[in-house]
Amino acid sequence: MNAGKPWQEMGLTDDEYRQIVEIMGREPNRVELGMFAVMWSEHCGYKSSRPLLKYFPTSGPRVLQGPGENAGIVDIGDGQALVFKIESHNHPSAIEPYQGAATGVGGIVRDIFTMGARPIALLNSLRFGPLDDDWNRYLFSKVVAGIGDYGNCLGIPTVAGEVYFHPSYKDNPLVNAMCVGLVATDEIARAVAGEVGRPLLLVGARTGRDGIHGATFASEELSAESETRRPAVQVGDPFMEKLLLEACLELIKEDLAAGMQDLGAAGLTSSVAESASRGGRGAVIDVLKVPRREAGMTPYEVMLSESQERMLVVPREGAVKRIQEIFEKWGLEAAVIGHITDDGILRVMEGEEIAGEVPVKALTDLCPVYHRESSQPDYIAEKKNFDLSSIAEAGDYNRILRELLGIHSLSSKEWVYRQYDYQVQTNTVLVPGDADAAVLRIKGTTKGVAVTVDCNSRYCYLDPYQGGMMAVCEAARNLACTGARPLAVTNCLNFGNPEKPGVYWQMEQAIKGMAEAARVLNTPIVSGNVSLYNETRGGEAVLPTPVVGMVGLLPDVTRRVDMALKNEGDVLILLGENRDGIGGSEYLALVHGVEAGTLPEIDPAQESRLIELLLTLAERGKLKSCHDISEGGLAFCLAESCITGGIGAVVDITGLRGRLDGLLFGEGPSRAVASVSRSDVDTVLEMAEKGQVPAVVIGRVEGKRLRLVYGGRTLIDQDVNELSAIWRGAITWAMS
């Protein structure tokens, strides 16, 4: 192929190669070139996304660590902090869904405990092609099993997530995993190199040939060719990870490590370079000292292997012996593979031979940055101009609601989360399916933490700026519905090929929208991950999918709110301004087969007022239930609250303005439905008025049916048990 230009095979351009030669002052050898290739890959170097990420607000009074470390950290008072991050494992999961998803979980968990935090929750955000296809069902079931088996074995509860199905994800599923950890603020471990001469300890699994060039692989479009030249698939060993986790947390408790760095993408190369570069130091390592799983591995392979469940530790002065003891207790091998130097060079030895020498900073800081061409793709205007008034309004609303409940993207995800241990660690107060976000208590305090992931990618496709705002607003709203104050954001930007101007534009717009919403809502973006080149075989980009993960705080966890209707006679109140919002809705896609239209306007300031109101109401114990309105609209929201409560409701929407289908199924943002006891109605309405949030009583909890009435006409009248069967059974049925 490119016998004369080996860099091309490694994913580097001719121009990048020239820069490398310039930096080195000579032609790099194969080992050196390989190290550059992985460190300068999109995955590690963020060369297309870096110029855009600077739009994100990243600081705030609670932020202890923004982007740049293994994970972001926010203060939650009492000397405690949350450490969290989301990461993609899309391409590995497309090739080997079970191991791809499992190792994705393993990787994100290491990011969290590397910082000294005990992981307390896992979340995941998943996208697949439709379930009427065998291959998609295979991917879906294996990904879910992989995520479950890994997290279950570690004893970290998987408490929330989202799953959507859309044809654009057919060849390229999205698998994003998020982990949240809890740390005492005085035990936060940051990667510092330590002093010159300090040994470098490699701990955990032995190094094999797996995943060589995984980082460059993640930076390419998938093709039939990439399937054949793909690296040997990484296999996860959650048991090893559990031992590593416990051992590393013990090291940090005893303050034995000056620095710790997990081995993720780009393996040893990246972790050694990063450990050394932080202190402006260099490092020398001997590949012969790296414990191997396979005979005959070359320095190139050792440096680039992405074998999982490994960790690099720089000990504190005199701590090596105690560290070895701890690892031994956990049955782990720790090998001294080199030490820190003062010359700023990463020197790879194979015994006495020098296998490669590269300036550390060249790997970590000199990766080129590309301001790619950006232009609005043609489809945008066309979709936006779609005339919604051309859509017939009349319809059998009973049938439409039932069909919406059966759409796999909207139906119950119990088939998924029943495969996840969501209760281990005995902190999960609101479990999956209970509410818009999961809520965990923090033992020894009155506090609770709420967590969620969100992204409506159809919205992001039709209008990435609005869609980006929406993802942040919806995540914040989901937290607020449980009574938790949104604190901060992590995000995973899943897009197509950034070298295509239209894709780059989508990303740029989505980022700006997310940034704007995060600024207004005071939820800084403290960590994240970028996954590009997500495309089908035919070269179509996936729907732009900037997944937002968010954490929130409840001062008093006993005040948490779930979404189930509770008692007969409770009053239903619609909070937030009613807008029809059919553009880009599920209803439009389902009934009219159209993914188009102008999206309902979203105003983060308005969202913020709704959130403040929800928090005050929850804190005063006024909410018996609360559920936000999102996909499927008001009718769907009510149906879900009826189903989870096992009770009916009578709702009269005569007072609301707009077309009927819009009132029922429109997805206008910044709205929620609360149920409150009769005696609290006046107070709640008053508080809403004070908070400048429109609020209207729309009905009451009653009986076993959901009835929606408009102007004396019954639009919907359904038995809750029947709705429940459709909603709960949809995915299970598709999977059996």
């Binding site: 479950g148 279950n152 074995c153 031992l243 956990w330 495969q419 996840y420 241990d421 969501y422 005995t426």
Partner: protein, 233 residues
């Protein structure tokens, strides 16, 4: 009453059990590392859930060779109270303290969620705080909870009243639909002949506080405490 919680590499419900005994039941409790060669000084032992040795080969198969297990076995033979929960149950089966074996769930999937259970006997150190045939709710979380034993063994389990808990519906009927894993005779928990060893798949420690949805699980530990205070063997 002093509780000991045995910790294997890969145990992950050890801290949850500790929390319940310490904070909710208010009794002294300590971890026992799997390398320990003595369990002296403890009044009851908990073999907690998790994935000892990654559940590799067979659940519980490797853990049962840990040095501490010999001590656990002798402790049980002396009449000491031993409860194995989930992976703990699997370990007790492999160790031969309880009859039978565990197969993969018939769904071939991990199952997490609340189940209804019928308390089949009050005549044990672990169930005396329940009513006879009471229906309770506890969560399960396992991939291999499909209890298997041959007909002979099953007959004996019934004859000697060793079945402690079965999966059932809300009314207490042991229906196939209420069986989450394909377990023989809907078995969720069994006792040894001496009635001082219990293995159960559901997690009582996860249902020991109102905040987490109920207190049925606490009554398992409360039963042990009552037994101890009333001077049962």
């Amino acid at each position: 009453m002093r509780f000991g919680i045995v910790v294997f590499p890969g145990s992950n419900c050890d801290a949850d059990c500790y929390h319940v005994i310490d904070q909710v039941l208010g009794q002294p409790v300590e971890y026992i590392w799997h390398q320990e060669k003595s369990v002296r000084g403890f009044d009851a032992l908990i073999i907690p859930g998790g994935f000892s040795y990654g559940d590799y080969l067979r659940t519980g198969a490797i853990a049962r060779f840990s040095p501490v297990m010999q001590e656990v076995i002798e402790f049980a033979h002396r009449g000491g109270l031993v409860i194995g929960i989930c992976n703990g149950f699997q370990i007790l089966l492999e160790a031969g303290l309880l009859p039978g074996a565990m197969l993969r769930n018939d769904s071939l999937q991990f199952r997490c969620g609340p189940v209804n259970l019928r308390v089949k006997t009050r005549d044990s150190a672990f169930t005396r705080c329940f009513e006879p045939d009471e229906v309770i709710t506890l969560p399960i979380a396992h991939g291999e909870g499909n209890y298997y034993c041959d007909d002979e063994t099953l007959k004996e389990l019934i004859e000697f009243d060793q079945i402690a808990l079965t999966y059932c519906d809300e009314r207490g009927e042991e229906t196939p639909l209420s069986n989450p894993n394909g377990s023989t005779a809907n078995i969720a928990g069994i006792l040894n002949r001496g009635r001082n060893v219990l293995g159960m798949m559901p997690h009582p420690e996860r249902m020991a506080e109102k905040l987490l949805g109920g207190e049925d699980g606490l009554r398992v530990f409360a039963s042990m405490l009552r037994c101890f205070e009333e001077g049962c063997s």
